[in-house]
């Protein structure tokens, strides 16, 4: 029915193009993403009056990028009087919707912009049952100053109320370009500097509350860890115990009170932990005279740490308790066949571990089901590295050279749909934020 409604463009084309990693098989590699079109609820985002149209566009794009809906696109919505104009009438703002019409187009949900000039309202409808789910009075001041995160948060509200899922619209990604930490909104907007060290920064990571970013940096040889408090905008603070030597690849514990990281010892690198709350208690979690142990990442329940070890020669992914005991191989590999594996990162729901692994001399992003320890390859075009999880545990961002330059891309691991976030090259080591509190996202 949706397809037959000729004036509607279901974004199947974009989806097919985006799913190239599922179909592009290189070097005899089989990829295991199953895309099932037509199973998502369809949503129509109705036209808004001129002063809210940019705001409407942000919300529509957020719903699209969530990969939770099929978007019913209106053909050039300025000319869509057939759907009824947005209600500009001051006297009788209407929230009535021709449910039968949108049901005919296959819509499950509709987002409508209505209300009076001074009191605009966004209304969320369940078209299939003819219910008004929620009316959101809109903050005209936030819309007027172009507060994109105001729109992002409303998009996440819509997602929660409709499909009862965690939206990821109110997130940002930190990454490295030209030796500095930058942040960009998840939809590619608002790309900006976070640090101006003039040195060399690597490995940014967000604290679980989204208020701090830790990174490693060097100017004259030693790699130190610094924590940047976003709510204060202060200069980065040196992390206790990391003033000398080689300290890199940090990760927060789930409650944000502890940091695990890699530290150069006399000959190798090992996993250490430090207490951030009390600025104390540097302790060592791994030993190894001949092997590096690095790149720790906490399980979300805090009980385990996955990390990279070179104990069999080629770096592979291992796991241990948060105290360093019970170390064992985590992501299975064939000795002498499987390539080096790097940069593991645990999904926020604990179900997945993403990492990158060399396939035919090129890195590709993989994901492992933590329970079954089954590994599948997610990418095959270009070189793809350093995956990082969105708060929904369904999207990953990673660095890809598929266009010829190092850019940040996002993939929905359920459908394989991908999109490009950045347009300037030189992107390294992306790190996805949690859903950000309002204080963290005021317009800079």
């Amino acid at each position: 029915m949706r397809v037959l409604a000729v004036c509607l463009v279901v974004l199947a084309c974009a989806t097919l193009a985006g799913a190239q990693d599922t179909t592009g098989v290189e070097g005899g590699v089989r990829v295991g993403i199953a895309y099932r079109p037509g199973t998502l609820p369809a949503v129509v985002v109705l036209p808004a009056r001129a002063d809210a149209s940019a705001f409407r566009s942000v919300i529509a794009r957020d719903l699209d990028y969530s990969d939770l809906f099929e978007m019913i696109a209106l053909p050039g919505y300025d000319a869509t009087d057939m759907f009824g104009s947005p209600a500009d009438s001051v006297s009788a703002p209407s929230v009535a919707l021709n449910y039968a019409l949108y049901r005919a187009f296959g819509a499950e949900f509709a987002v409508q912009f209505t209300g009076s000039g001074a009191a605009p309202v966004m209304v969320l409808h369940r078209v299939s049952t003819g219910d008004l789910l929620r009316a959101f009075p809109l903050d005209t001041a936030a819309m007027a100053r172009g507060d994109r995160f105001y729109a992002h948060r409303l998009a996440d509200d819509i997602i929660r109320l409709t499909v009862r899922a965690t939206g990821i619209a109110s997130t940002q990604l930190a990454y490295i370009r030209s030796g500095e930490v930058r942040v960009v909104d998840w939809d590619g907007e608002g790309d900006r500097w976070l640090t101006r060290t003039g040195g060399q920064a690597l490995s940014p990571e967000w604290s679980p509350d989204g208020r701090r970013i830790v990174f490693s940096a060097q100017e004259d040889g030693p790699w130190r860890l610094f924590e940047f408090d976003l709510s204060r905008g202060a200069t980065p603070r040196l992390v206790f115990g990391t003033g000398t030597g080689l300290n890199f690849a940090p990760a927060y514990s789930p409650d944000g009170s502890e940091l695990v990281f890699s530290r150069g010892t006399n000959g190798t690198s090992q996993v250490f932990a430090v207490n951030l709350r009390d600025n104390c208690c540097l302790r060592r979690l791994t030993v190894g005279e001949f092997a590096d142990n690095l790149n720790p990442t906490f399980s979300p329940d805090g009980s385990r740490i996955a990390f990279v070890s070179t104990r069999v020669g080629v770096p592979q992914v291992y796991v241990m308790s948060s105290e360093g005991s019970d170390q064992r191989l985590f992501a299975p590999f064939d000795f002498g066949v499987t390539g080096a594996s790097h940069a593991p990162t645990w999904s926020p729901d604990g179900q997945w571990l993403a990492f990158h692994r060399a396939v035919g001399g090129r890195f590709q992003v993989f994901v492992m089901d933590v329970r079954s320890e089954q590994v599948r390859q997610l990418t095959s075009t270009g070189v793809n590295t350093d995956p990082t999880w969105a708060p929904d545990s369904r999207h990953i961002a990673f660095r890809s050279t598929r266009t010829g330059t190092g850019q940040m891309w996002i993939m929905d691991i359920d459908t394989g749909r991908i999109r490009q976030v950045t347009r300037r090259g030189g992107v390294r080591l992306p790190a996805w934020s949690p859903n950000l509190p309002a204080a963290m996202t005021s317009v800079p």
Binding site: S203, A249, D292, L294, A340, F363, T385
Partner: protein, 205 residues
């Protein structure tokens, strides 16, 4: 030259003194041309002797300066040579941190200089090519720097004299993504951090 002028003036005065006051001047005394010539010869010889003496002092001074300059130049060149020996890089195989057999000799030369100059301190910087992950390459560079340090320390150099750092893949020596560039980038660099002036060559060299 000054002295000979004075003598000539003296001669003139003596000649005038012989003329007296008012009486008409007597016919000039016959000039003894021989004595004037003899005086001239004497003054010339004095002048030549003075000049010769000055020249010889100058030559001696120049010779002394030359020899100092040559010695300094030689010392400078020697120190430069020793510093170059310290700075000579060692290279590594892909994803390896073992010192190659052929590179042990490079480290042996550094070892001798470190032994002969107890004030000398160095920093070893380990580097990687771009092929590992960004973070893994920091660990790899650390292993490479420490491999060279271990070589020196295990042969008697105090560990406190050898500092290590890792730059991972952050400071490539050669750009590009070719095997040639990668081979150039998998390296240890050696830098003098203290005591690099007036290096003494190891005995037996």
């Amino acid at each position: 030259m000054k002295r000979s002028t004075v003598i000539l003036v003296g001669l003139a005065v003596a000649t005038m003194g012989a003329c007296g006051g008012t009486p008409p001047p007597p016919p000039p005394a016959p000039v003894n041309q021989d004595s004037i010539d003899a005086e001239r010869v004497r003054l010339d010889s004095i002048r030549r002797a003075e000049e010769a003496r000055g020249d010889s002092i100058r030559r001696a001074e120049e010779a002394r300066r030359d020899s100092v300059r040559r010695a300094e130049e030689a010392a400078r060149r020697e120190a430069e040579r020793l510093r170059n020996v310290i700075a000579e890089r060692v290279y590594f195989d892909f994803d390896k941190s073992e010192i190659r057999a052929g590179d042990a000799e490079i480290l042996d030369h550094k070892l001798a200089i470190l032994r002969a100059n107890s004030q000398l301190r160095i920093r070893i910087a380990g580097h990687a090519d771009e092929r590992g992950s960004d973070e893994y390459n920091l660990a790899l560079g650390n292993r490479r720097a420490n491999a060279a340090k271990h070589y020196l320390v295990s042969r008697g150099i105090d560990a406190s004299r050898v500092e290590t750092v890792s730059f991972g893949e952050e400071r490539p020596a050669a750009s590009g993504s070719t095997e040639e560039a990668w081979a150039q980038n998998r390296r240890d660099e050696f830098e003098i951090t203290a005591g690099g002036d007036g290096l003494t060559a190891p005995s037996g060299e």
